[in-house]
Structures are given as C-alpha cells and as structure tokens.
C-alpha cells in the first residue's frame, strides 16, 4: 500500500468528487475495505453532499448576466467623466500645471511694489547700518521725510516726555486710587 491511513483520509473528499487518478482511487478502495473509520467518513461526507442548493429559477440565471453588465456599464459611464484624472500622466500634468500657476502668482505678488520706491536704493547698504547709532530724532526725521506730506500729520504726543501720559505713569497706585475716587465724586455731585 502506497498511502498511510491519514493520507487516504485526507484524500477522501477528492475521491468522492472524482478528481483523483484511477490508480489512487483503486488504492483508496482497497483501504476502505479494511478500514471502518474511513468507510464511516465516506458515508458521512456523502451524507453532507446530499444537501442540495435550492434552484433560484431560470429567470435568475437568464437575467443576471445582462443585469450585471448594465450595472457595470452605468458605473463606468458615471466614473468616465473624471476617469482621465486617475490616469498617471494627466494627473501628473495637472499637478505640475497647478504648481506652476501657484508659483508664478507668488512670484508676481512678491515683485509687485505698486509704484512704492524701495526703502534702500542699494540693498547692500542695509547691512552697514548700525542700529545702536540710530536715535529717536533719526526715526522721526525719516518718517517725516518718507510719509510726511501736506495731508499727513505725525502725532508726536506719545513721544513727548512732558505729555500727561507720562504724568499718569509716574503716579503711585495710592495716588491713582485717590484720583479715581475724586473723579467719581465729581461725576456724582456734578462738576
């Protein structure tokens, strides 16, 4: 005997389905004659195979192919509108075109000065400016020169060392409190 008991047992479904060679079938049949366990297994599998699949009817078989091809065709048609975007070459071209547009827009935006003169005619000169050397008067003079015109006024109150803001800033918290109370009294009793 070529095959062991376990090997034959494993081949039993194939034997019952008729997919084995004739010589193997003969070996199995010889084994079955002397092995009640395998014989029992064969009858059990045969019993299982007896369970039938209910027939859905000719209408189902006849209509299913057309129904499926129609569903697939409709789906393809719907997808067809944007399908070209899914192909690698057009998708790549679209992305590159979009990137070129964005980059050119950013470049134009960065170079467009809308007629305003650059602050420094010589950009290299910028590095030679020492920030520590710049005084408040220099800033004000620069602003007056650059922005100043007949219609523009520069308010220098905030920078005036004698403005009333500076007076308030020098007050202590107790003084501010008493000032606040005095103002409130004035408001309730009338000026």
């Amino acid at each position: 005997m070529k095959y062991t008991h376990d090997e034959i047992r494993e081949m039993l479904p194939d034997y019952l389905n008729g997919i084995l060679e004739k010589t193997i079938c003969t070996d199995i049949e010889t084994h079955l004659k002397g092995c009640p366990e395998c014989k029992d297994e064969v009858s059990f599998i045969s019993e299982l195979q007896k369970t039938k699949v209910p027939e859905p009817g000719e209408l189902f078989w006849n209509t299913l192919p057309q129904k499926l091809s129609r569903i697939v065709a409709e789906k393809r048609q719907r997808r067809g509108l944007f399908d070209w975007l899914l192909r690698p070459a057009p998708a790549m071209v679209s992305v590159l075109l979009f990137m070129a547009l964005v980059l050119s827009y950013l470049y134009i935006k960065s170079t467009d000065t809308n007629g305003i003169d650059p602050l420094f005619e010589d950009p290299l000169a910028y590095s030679s400016i020492e920030i520590n050397d710049i005084t408040e008067e220099d800033v004000l003079a620069f602003l007056a020169e650059e922005i100043g015109s007949e219609s523009t006024e520069i308010y220098l109150e905030d920078t005036d060392p004698y403005s009333y803001y500076m007076d308030f800033a020098s007050l202590s918290s107790a003084e501010i409190k008493s000032l606040y109370e005095a103002l409130e009294r004035e408001q309730t009793k009338g000026g």
Partner: protein, 177 residues
Amino acid sequence: MNEDRELIDKAIEGSEEAIEALVRRYQRMVYAFAYRMINDMEEAKDITQKIFIQAINGLKGFKKEASFRTWLYRIAVNVCLNHRRTRRNNEVDINETITGNQKGVLSIMIEKERENFIKNALEELPPKQRLAIVLRTYEGLSCHEASKIMGCTEGAVKAHYHFGVKKLREILKEKGI
C-alpha cells in the same frame, strides 16, 4: 483558461458581451458557494450579484497567470465572510417549498428535515472550518486550491477541514442524526 483570459481582456476593454459570458460561465458555481456559506436563497442571490460586481470592477488587478476560478472564489470568500459578520438575523429559512412528487411526502419531509439539520450544524461551525468543508466537500476543490483561496497553508486547510468534520459529527450526534 485561455477562453477566460480572452473574455477578461475584452471585459476590461468594456465589452458587455464578454462580461455577460463570464457571468454566465461562473454564475452557478458562485451562487452554490454563496448559498452554502449563507444558507439563505434570497441572500445568496444578492451575494452572487455583489461578488460579480466586485470581480468585474477589479478585473484590472487580476494577474493573468493565475486561475480566474480561484481568484473568483477568493472574492466570494471575502464577500461571504463579511456578509456573515454583518448579518444580524441568523435564522434559517425552514419554509422552503417541497417540490417533486416521485417520492412520498413523508420521506421528502424527513429528507428535508435532515438537510436542515445538516445546514444548521454547518452554521454553528467557526467560519474557517465551515469554509474548508464547503470548499473541499461541496466545491470539490483540492487542498492546494483551497489553501490559495483561503490564504493559508495546505496543512491549515487540512486541519480546519478535519476539526470541522469532527465538530459537525458531534453536533449531529447531539441532535440524534
């Protein structure tokens, strides 16, 4: 095999005739498998449709050196197992109409009852054991083919089949069959 490949090429190009021919060729196999896995005729019909739609939409991904039948079975296995996972109502339809008048009504009823017991017992098995039994016993596939479909080794298929049959026998024994 070659005919399958020709039909697949044409189906990919969009030929409706090729799609219909492919469906016609495999519809009975797919339906029988779906029924064995789902155990409900109406659901099996819907599942059959679903399997074919998935297969046709995925034809571009099919490797032509592989067997179309095995590939289709793999899709069927995935669809059926997903369906079983999501199915809420596990009741088995026992009201199928009895047809045929050659045998006596009583013997037909006994046979039907027996069939229902076996179907219900199959339902109780873990999915992989059930799948191994369906593929080996009902679909007549070899261990090698079943392993390709189930995505496991031949040894694993043998083990699932062996334990499945053992458990099935125990269940039927408990029910007195």
